[in-house]
Symmetry: C2
Subunit: 211 residues, 2 copies
């Protein structure tokens, strides 16, 4: 069977196929790149109308990362997918604590998910950081609580947890607050590849700015 | 905001919500668990009619893993997500070569994707293994070529690459061959969490059998 085996050619062709689904959304060039990468990662054009990027999110994320902000993720799959080679050029690192012994202990004691306990443990290190949540609604609820109750202010929250229990509610809460710039999607869809696609799209925008 | 923060409770509630979408599909109990975990991972009930599990796939995967089969993945995100704690009970390991220097070299020389080069490099170690492809159509095309042209026979291929360039074709080719048991989904959807959900569902079936 004939197929395209050259990586850049695959990506360009994919973005061409996605373009018509974005044309009525009035997106900036930078938004188009983030939308395209998300839809590409999900293989699902039905993401187009449910992606929500707050007006200040892209500039906030770029500014933070350009100044060496760290990225905090809820699960290892998000950490794994983020392009560390590009991130490192700006000085940032990716942190995930979901498998730490301390976090496991807190999770068991308090009967909460490990990714929720992990976010709580990050605490003040989340200030001015990029938070990327791809899996656990409970992690997003916890970050929003830290913002609300403990005056912790990430530079941007990329919150795209997935599933039928809490995900839609946690993302609606993210989209309804106006303290922290955000990228999210409405409803039950989301997941690690969506978080990774969003973060990497921004890293590639920054990297292009440099060149 | 009120929400469920207890992991098992979240999963049970999620599977309850998914159940009505499966009831007309005539699934076995084991198939139901795999379908549920995939839909849970995608937050997308529209997976229900497009998941395809060949008649022999679950038993083939369970037999292989029970006997210590290794798992070979196309990308690091799939390797990361697989439950190594459970896999290890049976003796298997997970391998991914997409970031190996040798693979990068082959990829550049032959102008093919790294995950395609990685599958080629695995070669005979794929015999009797579990292949789990969550991202790259080119990796799946390459495994199918190894089966067809080089008499390499994985125990099962979990092939759910994602996207608009080659993914649907590669999965159609997987579903139309009858040498190797398979799990796949039709069309453009798929991704690392779908591959991970499939593999982990089978690991949990095995783990339950033991208990």
């Amino acid at each position: 069977m004939e197929f395209i085996a050259q990586p850049m050619e695959i990506e360009n062709k994919s973005f061409e196929i996605i373009a018509p689904y974005l044309k009525n959304l009035n997106l900036s060039e930078e938004e188009t790149k983030i939308y395209s990468r998300i839809i590409h990662a999900a293989g699902d054009v039905e993401y187009a109308p449910i992606i929500k990027i707050s007006a200040d999110a892209i500039s906030a994320a770029k500014n933070a990362l350009r100044n060496g902000a760290n990225i905090f993720t809820d699960v290892e799959m998000v950490r794994t997918g983020i392009n560390k080679r590009v991130l490192k050029k700006f000085g940032g690192e990716v942190f995930c604590k979901v498998s730490d012994d301390e976090v496991k202990k807190i999770s068991t004691q308090k009967k909460i998910t490990r990714s929720m306990a992990a976010m709580r443990t990050f605490g003040k290190s989340l200030n001015n950081s990029v938070v990327a949540i791809g899996n656990a609604p409970t992690a997003l609820f916890e970050v929003l609580r830290l913002v609300r109750e403990e005056n912790i202010f990430p530079a941007v929250i990329i919150g795209v947890p997935v599933g039928f229990v809490g995900a839609a509610d946690s993302k609606a809460e993210l989209a309804s607050q106006n303290k922290i710039p955000f990228i999210t999607v409405e409803g039950t869809k989301g997941g690690s590849p969506i978080a990774v696609a969003s973060v990497n799209a921004i890293l590639y925008l920054l990297d292009n700015d440099r060149n």
